[in-house]
């Protein structure tokens, strides 16, 4: 499924796609019946109806409720009672029809209520039965299907056998006829073969001569080609030719913890690194406008400082790739999406034109030249048009870096000269290439540039040039 394309479709289209994919015939959007769904049914409460009907039953005894008349005493009470009795008599006469009707209705309602009660009970039983029946039907249908399939199979098996017997008979007849013809034709063939052998010997001689001539021609062509090659401009289009070699194990695998501790000790605090990396953001933001919605990949993400910086600048789909599980866990804890993979292998699995930016901080100096070439080629392939590649690596133009710091990290392969990096980028499909210095050295030996007097400058330089040519290490075991 092409999730990206589906995302811009209507819900009906999305669900039609899912239906087709999952082998449900693409019915119009008529909802599915609830065949697989268990259902729990609660019935209305009959007691409520009973409660409603109770006062109605009391109403049948009309005339039983007499007023109390506490306020009236003596003669007035006697007269009031008289009037009441008179009224009740008359009412009894006039309301007789109504009362008959009411009591008939009440009886009817009671009957209906009882019927409904039994209906609900029946319903429950019926549902049980239904379920049982359905189950049985299912089994019967399944059995029937099995039987039918078996029958079909048997029938076709029978047909096959009959056909085979017929075919065998036919073949036997043919074979008998053919064998006599064959004997004659074999002799004729022998004669022909002998003639052909003679011809072959002749042509072999001619072939050897032609081959010698051809070889001479090829040699001259090859020489010409070598000459052409030296004139051709080298364009880095395919890095895939070089198979991914074994990676130095010091950054991953059993060395993972070592390398993490190593970086913690020498690379600098995460805050320092973030501060340094923040320096790239003006250029990145100027190029993209906003980082929201941009697919960005950070190869060799390490402890995730670049991921932090990108996210704090508005990026929302950034992925980090690294081979060091210890450092990846740090990234995950910070909420970043990361993959444990070799960056070349990860890049190789990405589609053409699929990323907006690829960032690699302090990584290319860890690659062999073959890998470096492959990396640039893959970046050129995977990035979209106008996509950005940003790499940072130690600059060997700084004397201290070139002579000392570079060799501190045992997983460094060799310094990448700035001009080599620029050249590789240009030949790998990047039209605008800028190589610039970053992070100028601010301190040396704990002193800033301004702190060091002119006299000391020459002393320092002296120290660099006439520094000991070797160094030794002595350890005393604890």
């Amino acid at each position: 499924m092409d999730y990206k394309k589906l995302s811009s479709e209507s819900l009906d289209t999305i669900f039609r796609e899912i239906r087709i994919r999952n082998g449900k015939s693409d019915l119009p959007s008529s909802p599915e019946t609830e065949d697989q769904i268990r259902s729990v049914v609660t019935f209305p409460n009959l007691e409520e109806i009973d409660a409603d009907m109770a006062p109605a039953a009391v109403g049948t005894s009309i005339g039983m409720n007499r007023a109390e008349m506490r306020a009236k005493k003596g003669i007035s009470r006697f007269f009031a009672r008289l009037v009441e009795k008179l009224y009740l008599r008359i009412a009894e006469l006039t309301n007789r029809d109504v009362r008959t009707y009411n009591s008939a209705m009440l009886t009817a309602v009671t009957v209906v209520r009882n019927r409904v009660g039994t209906l609900f009970e029946n319903d429950a039983v019926l549902m049980e039965n239904d379920k049982l029946l359905e189950d049985r039907c299912g089994t019967i249908l399944a059995n029937q299907d099995d039987l039918r399939r078996e029958q079909m199979q048997n029938r076709s098996d029978l047909g096959d056998t009959a056909r085979d017997v017929f075919r065998l008979n036919l073949r036997q007849e043919k074979l008998e006829a053919a064998s006599s013809e064959n004997r004659e034709s074999i002799e004729a063939l022998h004669a022909q073969i002998r003639a052909l052998e003679e011809k072959l010997a002749q042509s072999e001689k001619a072939g050897a001569e032609a081959a010698a001539a051809m070889e001479k021609k090829l040699e001259s062509m090859h020489a010409q080609h070598q000459e052409d090659l030296s004139v051709l401009r080298w364009t880095n289009t395919s890095g895939q030719a070089a198979p991914a070699p074994e990676r130095p194990s010091v950054t991953s695998g059993p060395g993972a913890v070592f390398y993490h501790d190593f970086e913690e000790h020498f690379r600098g605090s995460q805050t320092d690194i973030r501060h340094r990396l923040e320096g790239y953001m003006p250029r990145v933001l100027e190029h993209f406008g906003t980082l929201s919605g941009k697919a960005i990949l950070d190869i060799g993400c390490g402890r995730g400082e670049m991921l932090d910086v990108l996210v704090s600048n508005g990026a929302d789909s950034v992925v980090g790739v690294d081979m060091n599980p210890v450092q990846l866990q740090i990234c995950r804890d910070k909420g970043h999406s990361v993959a444990e993979d070799d960056c070349l292998h990860y890049l190789a699995e990405l589609k053409d034109n699929s990323l907006d930016a690829i960032i690699g901080i302090q990584i290319i100096e860890h690659l062999s030249f073959e890998e470096l070439v492959q990396l640039f080629a893959e970046c050129g392939r995977v990035l979209k048009k106008n996509g950005m590649l940003l790499l940072e690596t130690p600059n060997c133009a700084n004397l201290i870096t070139a002579t000392r710091y570079f060799y501190l990290d045992p997983s460094h392969v060799r310094p990448v000269h700035p001009e080599l990096a620029g050249f590789l980028a240009q030949r790998s499909g990047f039209s605008y290439v800028d190589v610039f210095g970053m992070n100028p050295a601010e301190y040396y030996d704990g002193k800033s540039r301004n702190d060091i007097a002119a006299a000391e400058h020459s002393e320092l330089l002296d120290g660099l040039i006439f520094a000991p040519q070797d160094y030794a290490l002595i350890g005393i075991r604890a």
């Binding site: 999730y3 995302s7 999952n22 909802p31 609830e34 769904i37 999406s337």
Partner: protein, 344 residues
């Protein structure tokens, strides 16, 4: 208009596991059947093993025929994909691995595309006219779905899943129940026990994947005790006799432990980043709220121990603060919304 029939949609895991969600649905259906004549709890088998099975589960809900009911109440993803003109969602959670737990997935570009598709589907499915209104089980979920897909929703706390909590004489231990998982941060409380100055004890109930690690962590702390898995009765007894309850998870969605503690009249200590439980605590009134720092937690443990009267008062206050959270209150909020402008 009066509601006569209601369908409550629940998704059941095809694996058949019974957990909090299953009890939640049962209680919800029971509560509604006190108000509505015919309430059906329809269980849709769903599976979250892979993105394909998630999509198939969405489709199953989308193609469900529930038009015979007056209204439909859906709960967690993907049941809200159901199509009904009178549909309200009482959301437990969406598919979390594509939301706040996205970093748990392999960071392959295809997962970003899948997430984009899922967000696009969820957004439309949870908006009118497909869904009249969205309610959620706590305050964490509205924030999350607003952040990711821009859907507005209202928090509505569900009632308890279990009953029969009681209180008794407070002992000398802090009770810490729950699954022993990294996200529950039991280690914070164990580390805190290294800093306490009073002889307060910590009893940890439950088991889980982090158990060995936690036991190792508490090797030199004699006052930390692991009880393992306990029965429901034992659990209620442990609550009743506790001094206080500690519950310090990371970004919890609801957290029944806080409610159980309050029902047992015990104050709760939780962390500022614990999510929903932190929203219930008014520090000093019904418990303590502190940073995810063992020293700070230790100071509060000591405070529970030293000021027993105040601790008991906080527990009583806690019980009061969740009095209004009942299943009836849930129905009384949802029913008017379901009955509003019922198409006939």
């Amino acid at each position: 208009m009066k509601l006569h029939s209601l369908d409550i949609l629940a998704n059941v895991q095809s694996s058949g596991t019974v957990g909090g969600a299953e009890i939640f649905h049962k209680k919800l259906a029971e509560a509604f059947s006190r108000y509505v004549d015919c309430v059906d709890l329809v269980e849709v088998p769903c599976c979250e093993d892979s993105f394909d099975t998630i999509m198939e589960s969405y489709r199953r809900c989308y193609d469900l025929n529930v038009l015979k009911y007056d209204a439909v109440l859906s709960s967690k993803a993907p049941t809200f994909a159901v199509r009904h003109p009178n549909h309200v969602c009482y959301l437990m959670h969406t598919v979390r691995v594509f939301y706040d737990m996205f970093e748990e997935l392999n960071a392959h570009p295809v997962n970003f595309e899948r997430r984009q598709l899922l967000f696009r589907m969820d957004k439309e499915l949870l908006s009118p006219p497909r869904t009249k209104a969205v309610y959620t089980i706590g305050e964490e979920v509205p924030e999350r779905i607003r952040k990711y897909i821009g859907i507005e929703s209202t928090a509505l706390h569900p009632g308890m899943t279990d009953e029969g909590f009681y209180t008794a004489q407070a002992g000398d231990y802090i009770y810490l129940p729950g699954r022993l998982h990294r996200w529950k941060r039991v280690d914070l409380c164990i580390e805190a026990m290294g800093y306490v100055k009073t002889p307060v004890r910590l009893k940890i109930a439950g088991s889980g994947e982090q158990e060995q690690e936690l036991r190792a962590l508490s090797a030199n702390l004699p006052r930390v005790e692991f009880l393992g898995r306990v029965s429901d009765e034992e659990m209620k007894c442990l609550y009743a006799n506790a001094l206080a309850v500690a519950f310090t998870p990371l970004r919890e969605d609801y957290g029944y432990i806080l409610h159980e503690a309050f029902k047992s009249e015990k104050p709760v200590l939780t962390c500022t980043d614990s999510g929903e439980p932190a929203r219930f605590i008014r520090s000093g009134e019904n418990g303590f709220l502190c940073g995810p720092d063992p020293r700070e937690i230790a100071a509060r443990f000591d405070e529970f121990y030293l000021h027993r009267e105040k601790t008991a008062a906080m527990g009583r206050c806690g019980k009061k603060s969740i009095e209004s959270i009942t299943w009836d209150a849930v129905v009384e909020t949802l029913l008017p919304v379901l009955e509003e402008k019922l198409p006939r």
